[in-house]
């Protein structure tokens, strides 16, 4: 009985640091009450980068790195584990975090209380995200999910009016419902298996009604948190109503945590259940999300709403790994998660700038935005949109290519048409937005709209960040080979024979 805990397993300190550097920074920012936020952020970013580099090197060498917290190990203790998938999400978190931390001081300038609260909330969110990417314990994941929920909702209502409060409340209700469904599933799993560790569970899975029901409950819970169709209702108001840096975090990372867990749960924890029926069910849900989100995005009149509905649609892609179930699909989904994250962050930050300068984000007002010298923001918006449509030469294109290849290999014509159609719909709703930027303002040549005044009030870092992220989204189209090599460590599929 005891040997499990005395096995000489190397516990890599890097994993712990990845969670605790942001957490300690959060503690510090509560203590300092908003002072020295920049230095805290810089140190945190540097620290997490170092730890991430360290862990990445290990994963590249050993495909999987673990840390047995308390030295106990599963099934009694809690383990942290990093593989390629975790690393992909950890790096995405870091990049998004860098962008958000950079713009936050300027974005919340002049709003002391909001700024005071933003830092501890965001740093805790970061710790919770990293904890989620590394967790393998079902109950521990319940706690990280709650951390994510509370931090995300608190950030979403930060500094908003009653609309933001209402949206946040709706988000909270969905998310708490999701947590409870997850917890009930965990209870059922524990009752039937006596273990909470995903890997141990996956090895000794007992297939019975309780396990099936638990799997369904946990999946529904995660779907509510990931705003997967038909549990998406909370997302558009919450993401569209939050401050721009927060929207970027929510869209790029927080919803993805739930999808990530969906993958972890089914491919690691419940491999024996992940058969045809489940695959088809998730495939259909993904397809519904892709089409529904796209069509609704086409109907929106506000920039942030379009971006928010686009998130619903884009998350649907991630579910395609279930029906396609191949290495190519895994690569595609992984890369889609990355490039979507970066692109979404860029778009929300750009939309935030438009909102700040033009005063609203109605589509009809965008021609003025062009006049207001929002050049870099708009350029970032364009680059990110191109990536989101899956057009070359961007990360989104590589992802779409890999997914399509997988669809041809395994899925057949239905999935192929779905991906193609969804890409065209994305192009439709995004070009609807971009076309507005090229349109001649109604007032003819009148240059008298917000103009230089607006640009002057926009700090450089805010103005440039969307462009930088957009460039990253494009660069992702060129570095996929080395990135995927790292991020495929420990993937649940093997490369198909050529």
């Amino acid at each position: 009985m005891n040997e499990a805990s005395v096995l000489p397993v190397e516990s890599h300190p890097g994993l712990v640091l990845l969670v605790f550097i942001p957490l300690l920074a959060a503690i510090l920012s509560v203590l300092l009450d908003g002072r020295a936020a920049r230095s805290t952020a810089v140190v945190t970013l540097a620290g997490v980068f170092g730890a991430l580099w360290w862990v990445s090197a290990e994963v590249a060498a050993a495909s999987q790195v673990r840390h047995l917290l308390g030295g106990w190990g599963a099934p009694l203790g809690i383990e942290l584990m990093a593989d390629g998938l975790s690393l992909a999400m950890l790096w995405l978190t870091w990049v998004t975090g860098l962008a958000v931390s950079a713009v936050a001081p300027a974005s919340f300038a002049g709003r002391a209380e909001v700024s005071r609260l933003f830092w501890p909330l965001w740093l805790t969110l970061w710790a919770a995200l990293n904890a989620t990417w590394l967790a393998t314990d079902l109950f521990n994941l319940y706690i990280t999910l709650e951390l994510l929920t509370l931090a995300a909702v608190a950030l979403a209502i930060l500094g908003g009016g009653s609309a933001a409060l209402r949206a946040g409340m709706r988000y909270l209700l969905y998310a708490l419902l999701g947590s409870l469904a997850w917890l009930l599933g965990v209870a059922l799993i524990y009752a039937g298996h006596g273990v909470l560790d995903l890997h141990t569970l996956g090895v000794g899975l007992e297939v019975g009604p309780a396990t099936w029901f638990a799997a369904a409950l946990m999946s529904v819970g995660l779907m509510a948190k990931a705003a997967l169709w038909p549990l998406h209702g909370w997302l558009p108001p919450a993401h569209a109503g939050a401050p721009a840096p927060v929207s970027a975090l929510l869209s790029a990372l927080v919803v993805k945590a739930a999808v990530y867990l969906l993958l972890r749960l089914w491919w690691w924890g419940l491999p024996a259940l992940t058969g045809q029926g489940v695959a088809l069910a998730f495939g259909v849900l993904g397809a519904a999300a892709m089409l529904y989100g796209s069509v609704l995005a086409l109907m929106q009149l506000r920039v942030k709403r379009i971006i928010a509905y686009s998130t619903i649609a884009q998350l649907g892609y991630l579910l395609l790994v279930f029906p396609l179930a191949s290495m190519a699909a895994w690569q595609g989904v992984l890369y889609h998660a990355l490039s979507h994250g970066v692109a979404k962050a860029a778009m929300f930050l750009a939309a935030g700038n438009i909102l700040m300068v033009v005063g609203h984000d109605r589509l009809a007002g965008l021609p003025q935005a062009m006049r207001a010298r929002l050049g870099p923001s708009v350029a970032g918006l364009v680059l990110a949109s191109v990536s989101l449509m899956g057009l070359p030469p961007t990360g989104g294109f590589i992802a779409k290519w890999l997914l399509l290849r997988a669809a041809f290999e395994t899925g057949g014509v239905v999935w192929v048409s779905l991906i193609v159609l969804s890409g065209l719909l994305a192009a439709a709703y995004l070009f609807r937005l971009l076309a507005m930027l090229l349109r001649r303002p109604p007032g003819g040549e009148g240059d008298g709209v917000p103009d230089a005044h607006g640009a002057a009030s926009l700090p450089v870092v805010l103005s440039v960040m969307p462009l930088l992220l957009g460039i990253v989204a494009v660069l992702l189209g060129f570095v996929a080979a080395p990135l995927l090599e790292l991020f495929l460590q420990g993937a649940p599929f093997v490369e198909a024979a050529p």
Binding site: F431, A435, R439, R440
Partner: protein
Amino acid sequence: MALYTALPLLALMSSLLAAVVIFLLPEAARRWRTLVNVAAAVVKLILVAVMLAGVMQGHEFGFAMMLAPGLELRLQADALSLLFITLSAVLWLFTTVYAIGYLENSPNRGRFFGYFSLCVAATMGVATAGNLFTFFIFYELLTLATYPLVTHRGTPEAMRGGRIYLAYTLAGGAALLAGIILLENAGGSLAFIAGGSVEQLAVDDPALFSIIFWLLIGGIGVKAALVPLHGWLPVAMVAPAPVSALLHAVAVVKAGAFGITRIVFDVFGVQTTDALGLGPVLAALAAVTILYGSVRALAQTDIKRRLAFSTVSQVSYITLGIALAGPVVAVGGLVHLVHQGLMKITLFFCAGNWAETLGIHRIDQLDGVGQRMPWTSAAFTLGALGMIGVPPTAGFISKWYLGTGALQVGHGWVIAVLVASTVLNAAYFLPVLRRLWFAPPSRDWEERLPGTRAETTLALLIPTVIVALLALGAGVLAGLSLSPLGWAELIVLREYAR
């Protein structure tokens, strides 16, 4: 040495860098922008000349990098690429000068020239693509870069034109993508190899490869304006004249025709295409397009719309030549790639000169313009006679090779098509010439550029005259080995040498 073999990349970067620099320049920096534009065009011309010399001596130029597992970005310069590169590099220089003159004092020039350069970079990429994957990347990039040019004026008609253009080209891109991945999935090589590489596979599964062929041709045919995929071309005429010149002569339509050549020559191979029975069908489609375009052109009263339908017709000469499996007919098709470009750009420059100088847009306004603007009208006459195919113009060379070549491989019906087309060409061009030179001046125009010493500004006039002379020279000097004809013969020799 590495730099020397990477010349295709450098040629591409010369435009790409120019695009980036121009985007970064402030709107008011007119001189700098002009300098960058012209310098980039000249530099590229030099690079292309070096490559041309190299290829003549049998050097190989290539650059490759892995974008994702199994996806290689490959640029290479072979004889066929150089035919296209040289055409676009030469014409870009003149179009740039022309565009600088044309857009004098109009708003958003920075944006215009940025996308303009991007567009040429994409064309370079299409021309030097070493495999279908790379081809697709630049093919889509071309779509993205041309869209803002089409909608440049920002008027409702421009936006509508842009929308239709996008709908066609993006749908075509999707079909192309599906075709490429299907080809890859069926085991075919994506690399461009003279003589094709799918012979054996196609014999094994002719039905599948027919589908692939039509997906590819369908996707590319959109840009080549193959009936019934031509609908966007007349609508896109709302763009400024240099853009139309670019679309019709240098970039978009040519990229389509070039792509069809690549598919037939270097993916399927002429023999395989013919063996599958695809060639004659494609040729028939091209023939229909030739006649349809001419008939529609006849009915247009707007100069640019008439020219647009003329393009629909003329570009399919290229397709026709490629589709019929014979060396001489292929030479006719390939050489028309260049000839049509030279002639059509002349015509569009003339149309632009008239519009810009006298505000003339309709054919019935042209009465007696030959007296007011003799140089422009003479250039137009040269181009029009070439289009009709009067000896010894370039158009005559093309038609001669097409006709004799078709007879050689037993497709006598092509002669009938050529004759009918020539009659129609004459029917829609000769009345214009009559109005220009022989009708009494109606003075139904407004002088927009008073005070210029020549008939119009030199920036407009000089490129027009030069390209007209080039068009003439291509026909008269066809016997030289470096003439378009000589080069086309070299390409065909290599293709058929196999």
